[in-house]
């Protein structure tokens, strides 16, 4: 069983990087050093009326310095609270959580990272991991789909080619991530994706048709974040070894699943 840490992390920097999107750099003791791309942390609210953790993906981690970057959209009161954190304040984290992307299965292959909206941030750490060292991909492309205003695009630049799509066509391809992939002539042999359900469904179908491997990072509401409460299940194709029913826990067996493993 992998180690999971409960930490009070100091805020090193907070920045608004787009309309409603915030970036936080946090000083952790262990989490940044031990997390892998696609894993997430449970972030806890200081306000006592909000009990449950907010799962937020690792956007970047600096293992040497123990620094962790989270990028999130203000979606409700919890993320709104986080967006007001100031340097020097502390926030409770539990992590790293979940399985992350299967780096060993990606190394040496033509990988496309598909991120939609607030699913883009976890792709950044994955891009970093696959762009160098022993896990380097043979070819690395990222396709990012935005509603309107862009964010993190410059952060991807050093690591891979970046294809853009916007709903309104204000930047890159007008349309979805899939449209951007087609327009950009991407021909990956494996896709890693995180984003809204319709996008994941489209990618699952697309990769099934093309017969290419596909890994999807799913979202579900979580209470414990560590596999104990069975809040966060998704429907699995096969009976799951842990639950003995066709349910897998997004927080533990996921959030990353092989596309054929899950029903969306």
């Amino acid at each position: 069983m992998a180690q999971i840490y409960r930490e009070s992390a100091e805020v090193l920097g907070r920045e608004q990087i787009a309309e409603g999107i915030f970036s936080l750099w946090l000083q952790t003791e262990q989490i940044a050093a031990e997390c892998t791309p696609g894993q997430f942390v449970s972030v806890y609210c200081a306000d006592a009326s909000r009990l449950l953790p907010r799962p937020i993906s690792v956007c970047e981690a600096d293992p040497e310095k123990g620094k962790l970057r989270l990028v999130f959209r203000v979606a409700g009161k919890g993320t709104e609270e986080f967006s007001r954190l100031k340097n020097g304040e502390r926030v409770q984290l539990v992590g790293p959580l979940g399985n992350g992307f299967p780096l060993e299965k990606l190394a040496g292959r033509k990988v496309l990272l598909a991120g939609g909206g607030i699913g883009i941030p976890p792709m950044l750490q994955l891009a970093k991991a696959l762009s160098r060292g022993e896990k380097q991909a043979a070819e690395l492309t990222a396709a990012a789909g935005f509603r309107d205003s862009l964010f993190l695009t410059e952060d991807f630049a050093p690591y891979c080619r970046l294809l853009l799509a916007t709903e309104d066509g204000s930047a890159g391809t007008r349309g979805t991530v899939l449209d951007a992939m087609r327009e950009g002539g991407a021909a990956p042999d494996v896709i890693c994706a995180c984003g809204p359900a319709p996008m994941l469904r489209a990618l699952k179908q697309y990769t099934a048709e093309k017969g290419i491997a596909c890994w999807l990072s799913l979202e579900e509401k979580m209470a414990c974040g560590v596999g104990a409460c069975l809040s966060c299940v998704c429907r699995s194709a096969e009976v799951d070894g842990h639950s003995r029913v066709k349910n897998k826990r997004v927080c533990t067996e996921g959030p990353v699943f092989a596309a054929e493993e899950v029903e969306l």
Binding site: M222, C229, S243, R244
Partner: protein, 303 residues
């Protein structure tokens, strides 16, 4: 000063009166990363049935002010897997194990209780007749005094371990239900299970939970739980395990003073995985500060 923290529930001695509530702690495997299970008075395992249950569709939970709603629907791997994997895992710890049992019908409850008869690692059975999230299981049995007495009797006939009946708070007169369980031969009571609630997502104009309704838990319900424990403690002689919104030693002390002999920490573990241990340490510190030698003196001390 020497201090006694241990309590006895139906002859089973717990090293302290603090356990973790069924369904919020799995079988302890996941939480053993955050706290030492040997510290706990008991681990109460997630509801288990004779066969695997799929549970409800998602979303299964949502947050509410100082609480949450859940409609897990008693997903469980069935008693065989539970015995092999979860009870075996718990072998290694010096803590008591209370197995929470659920069923769709009286027969299913009885089958599960029967299957657990030979399991030495199951120190006590907790019978969930109060789950609001499963149509046939649970709550239907738990809101009618006659039904409660009946199911308690049937279970007591075959159970090897002492039996704790877990009561629903969704009733007009919980003390009446408690008396029925006592009359049926229950060795102890657990209370409270969750209060039925609902949240609507006004943006999407749908129910927030796939199951529409769910069970409300967490600090929001603590005052209701304390009241109910107090009411029942006036009316029954069997010990009460109090739960509902306990998040601190103070919350647990309230429950003990209202009449509980032990307490369970549930939803609070989601917020802070180490809550149960904090509660144990806090109760011990309270005894120390107030010159009280035995935690059992607190039970029902506010009258």
């Amino acid at each position: 000063m020497s201090q006694n923290m241990s309590v006895s529930i139906a002859g089973v001695v717990l090293k302290n009166p603090v356990m973790v509530a069924s369904g919020t702690f799995g079988s302890g495997i996941e939480y053993s990363r955050f706290l030492d299970l040997n510290r706990l008075g008991a681990v109460v395992t997630k509801g288990v049935a004779i066969t695997p249950w799929e549970g409800n569709a998602t979303p299964r939970i949502c947050e509410t002010p100082s609480g949450m709603l859940n409609a897990i629907g008693l997903q469980n791997p069935g008693v065989e897997t539970f015995v092999e994997r979860d009870l075996s895992f718990l072998e290694q710890f010096d803590t008591k194990v209370i197995v929470n049992v659920c069923g769709h019908s009286l027969e299913e409850y009885l089958d599960c209780v029967r299957r657990l008869a030979d399991e030495k690692r199951a120190d006590l059975l907790e019978i969930n007749i109060s789950c609001p999230n499963v149509r046939e299981g649970g709550i239907a049995f738990g809101t009618d005094p006659k039904g409660v007495e009946q199911i308690t009797k049937e279970i007591k006939k075959i159970a090897v371990q002492p039996v704790i009946m877990k009561l629903s708070p969704n009733v007009t007169d919980i003390a009446q239900i408690a008396e029925a369980a006592e009359a049926g031969g229950a060795d102890a009571l657990s209370m409270i299970n969750t209060l039925t609630g609902m949240k609507i997502d006004v943006r999407r104009r749908t129910f927030a939970l796939a199951n529409r309704t769910g069970g409300l838990s967490g600090p929001a319900i603590h005052p209701i739980a304390v009241r109910m424990v107090w009411q029942c403690a006036q009316r029954v002689k069997i010990p009460i395990i109090g739960m509902g919104g306990i998040a601190s030693a103070e919350d647990a002390l309230e429950m003990l003073m209202a009449g509980a002999s032990a307490v369970s920490v549930g939803t609070a573990s989601f917020h802070d995985q180490t809550t149960a241990v904090r509660v144990i340490d806090g109760i011990s510190a309270y005894l120390e500060e107030n010159g009280i030698g035995d935690v059992r003196e607190l039970t029902g001390c506010v009258k």
